[in-house]
Amino acid sequence: MAVIGAFAYEEDFLAAAENLKASGFDNISLLSPLPLEEAQEVLGLGKSPVRRFSLAGAILGGICGFAMAAGTALVFILPTGGRTIITLPPFLVITYEMTILFGVLFTLLGFHFVSGLPAWRDKPYLPSANIDHFVVVVEGAAGEQVARAEAIIRDAGADEIRHVEEDQ
């Protein structure tokens, strides 16, 4: 069972989130129509692991870019004016571009991995969270937890409270 509370005001929403956390509810989602740093702080979200994906992608891209350019030069040997076969200045350009390409692609991968998107099953949601409401969702509540969560949400000044059965 999920308990959903929709708030018209940011401060009520944040108060509900803080009270729920303080009461021991760990499985809560905070939905908002815009990014709110305060909501992220309530959930204790610090530095995102996405940055590790970006770094790994950039390093891998750099290595692959140079290996591709140098490998091609070694396989298809094209002597030019007595210069070296593996020439750094032009190959660094390819390395640079591949560093960025892989960095971007791995950041995208990191985003999907960390955020859990695409969502393969329906999750408790209110469309007003994408317009002008701030929504608290307490997921996996059972028994007396439902009533307790509902009381906290109501006390914080929710406009609307719903109970939703969750997909397993």
């Binding site: 908002s32 129509p33 940055r51 091609t72 390409l101 971007v104 950041t107 985003f111 695409p118």
Partner: protein
Amino acid sequence: MFDHGQPSYAEVNKDVLATMLETGPKYWILLGTTMGVAGICFFMPWFYQLIVGVGAAGMNRNAVWGTYLSNFIFWIGLSHSGTLLSAVLHITNSPWRKAIYRSAEAMTLFSLMTAALFVMVHVGRVWFVHWSFPIPNQMGLWPNFRSPLMFDVMAITTYLTASSIFIYMGSVPDFAAVRDASTGLRRRLYTIFSFGWRGTAREWHTLGWAYTFFAVFVVPLAVSVHSIVSWDFALSIVPGLHHTIFAPYFVCGAIYSGTAGIVTVMYCLRKFLHFEKYIGQVHLDSLGKLLIALSLIWSYINILELFSSWYGGTSFELEALKFRLIGFYAPLYWEMILFCAFVPLLMLSKKIRWSWNKMLVISILINIGMLTERFIIVATSQPRKFLPDAFGFYFPSWIEISITIGSFAIFATLFLIFIKWVPSISIYEVKETLKPLRRDA
């Protein structure tokens, strides 16, 4: 920030989504016209050229590069301000970016696509274009990565990929807003586009980090792309092209023309999609100031380019310089100087900077000047190489002129399709610029 009072969150959703969900006959007429012009002016002449060969274009010995490449540089240049400006302003946390960046990024994407089309038109046998990519082919050949043209392939492919991801990821929360506001097939499509976005704190947090990293990657990428395009020319030893200043010259010119392009696009969005509430004087004023700074840098680099050619004192550089300043194409050169160095100075006046109509005219003149600049770089250098027996003359054929006109129609078509599929103003970022919804407010 807002000229007509602050809108509510719900109004932002309603206003922006209305431009996607409500379509009048004017839109279809305009789309049909741009598609028709693109077909007649771009694709039909291109098809004709494919049948008769590249000889249908005005390029020949002495000038084997012509309008196709100057248009390629122009469109790559126009692509520069969108993603680059958006990324720089995101990193520096500038609030005035939020209402205009989505369309500016779209401009980047569509300019890049148009530029890529010019490469295909230029190469002649377009069905062999995959030979320029490092993928197995029937000839058993791999590209020569020492060539600046291969730098181009890698840079533009990376830029196109990064720009597409940058605009897409920034649009995911807004796709969710479209999903919630629509029904039927559209709802199903946007459910897929939005990846099931709910707007949770974790999703916002991850998107914020990822988006910042995209921006950090995109800034040096954009600078590298136009530097690399400049090296297509500067790494040759052709007089008039072999300048070390070319990379910053091209990057500056690209940002300059791109910023002017943003002003033009913003005018159209404001006028035709009725975004007066969101795109206001603060945006126009900021873009105007940016254009003044860029025009001064551009003018300085132009003076340096002339000076270094003159100060070098070699006869072939002086001949190329003379041909540019007083030769057949001199009127175009001086038109470029007028439009790109002098006309923008009018924006020093706040009265002009605050007038949408005047800024529209100036932005269009700047881009005419920048298109001319690219033509002059290509058309006045190769026909004046070293010895008089290598001298020649280049004038675009009707095929090239028609394809040039058609490219603008392609860009307009892509943009018109974009405004019906993607919210042209970022809904959630505009909300960030509004005062928060507080009980005590």
